[in-house]
Symmetry: C2
Subunit: 203 residues, 2 copies
């Protein structure tokens, strides 16, 4: 709209570039902010600035952190012999929100994706192997990459790499797959149904 | 999540307070911004700051503006004897996006809503009457408040007030209502169907 003031249309423009926000939501957000107290808008702007200046990558698990080593890796109550391997730092948030996982994490920073020219060397796989080789005693690695083609392939690749380490007492598992809770058999896709049948558990 | 760095959880917190953004979207947005170039984050912060400093309310129509009088009110190609009355400035954007309205606007800044203690004196109704009384010759006022109970009541109230002016050549209309384009009779609610039947047009 040519008649919309620049300060609003620019903001609508940047909001539209965010994931999951279309032109209508972007406009609604901009007008909402226009009618909020200036303190709230300043709070957002300040938090945005802090995001880039304060957040670091944890040197252990490669998740998000406020210091060289993140709060999860520093937490002495966590089992250091239970490592959950995920694609992205946001996956850690999803699993932590569940609340009952007591182990630590390893963020790969992506998946193997030849079409996008992302190979194993672009991911934190060597770092995972190095972490594993330093742990004494039994270890369980849960491969929790996404249930996509790339996530599955990456999980298989990592499993092979870990097996080559030849570590004793090492258990490798894949995050469970099947029908999501609350779902209806009728609407499930074939691949999920097939996986759910394979992964049936005894009652 | 207790283990999420403050700079991220604060940003997630402010995002959650925005309309239409829940906890999951807020987290996704924060992590998306974490992985974008700092220039983009600075652009958002800058546009937010400009929003509050540069946007004014138009002294004529009470829509958003960059100066005392907005671009629409200053546009000499627009019919000044066709005034569309809307609830909020964002409604002007919606109508301008359609593109074929050649008149001007009047933003009420809300609707009469006794439950929220908003009376006619809180809206720009007197200002509308004063604008109308200054116009010579025939005028059409389109009442385009929302099709809600409050919007309908406000439209009726304004119609009465305008009629009291006793202006010659004054036409008052209400924005058309009925079935939305692309909709299915079967799923329409009774009130809409009844209104659509009343408002049938000859083919």
């Amino acid at each position: 709209m040519a008649t919309l003031p620049r300060a609003i249309s620019d903001l609508v423009g940047v909001f539209e570039r965010l994931p999951g926000i279309g032109p209508k939501s972007a406009t609604r957000l901009a007008f909402y902010l226009l009618n909020t107290p200036i303190s709230f808008v300043e709070e957002i702007a300040g938090d945005l600035a802090r995001l880039k200046s304060e957040i670091m990558i944890c040197g252990e698990c490669f998740g998000v952190s406020e210091s060289n080593v993140c709060g999860i890796c520093r937490d002495s109550k966590r089992k250091t012999n239970l490592i959950c391997v995920v694609e992205r730092a946001i996956d850690v948030v999803a699993l932590e929100n569940v609340g009952n996982y007591g182990g630590i994490y390893h963020v790969l920073n992506g998946v193997i994706n030849p079409l996008n020219h992302i190979g194993p060397e672009d991911l934190k796989i060597d770092e995972l192997l190095s972490r594993l080789s330093k742990i004494d005693g039994p270890v369980e690695v849960i491969l929790a990459t996404n249930l996509t083609m790339e996530g599955e392939a990456t999980a298989l690749y990592i499993r092979k790499k870990i097996e080559v380490l030849g570590k004793h007492g090492l258990k490798i598992s894949r995050i469970g797959s099947g029908l999501p809770i609350g779902s209806d058999m009728e609407y499930a896709d074939m691949a999920t149904l097939s996986r759910a049948m394979e992964g049936r558990t005894e009652l």
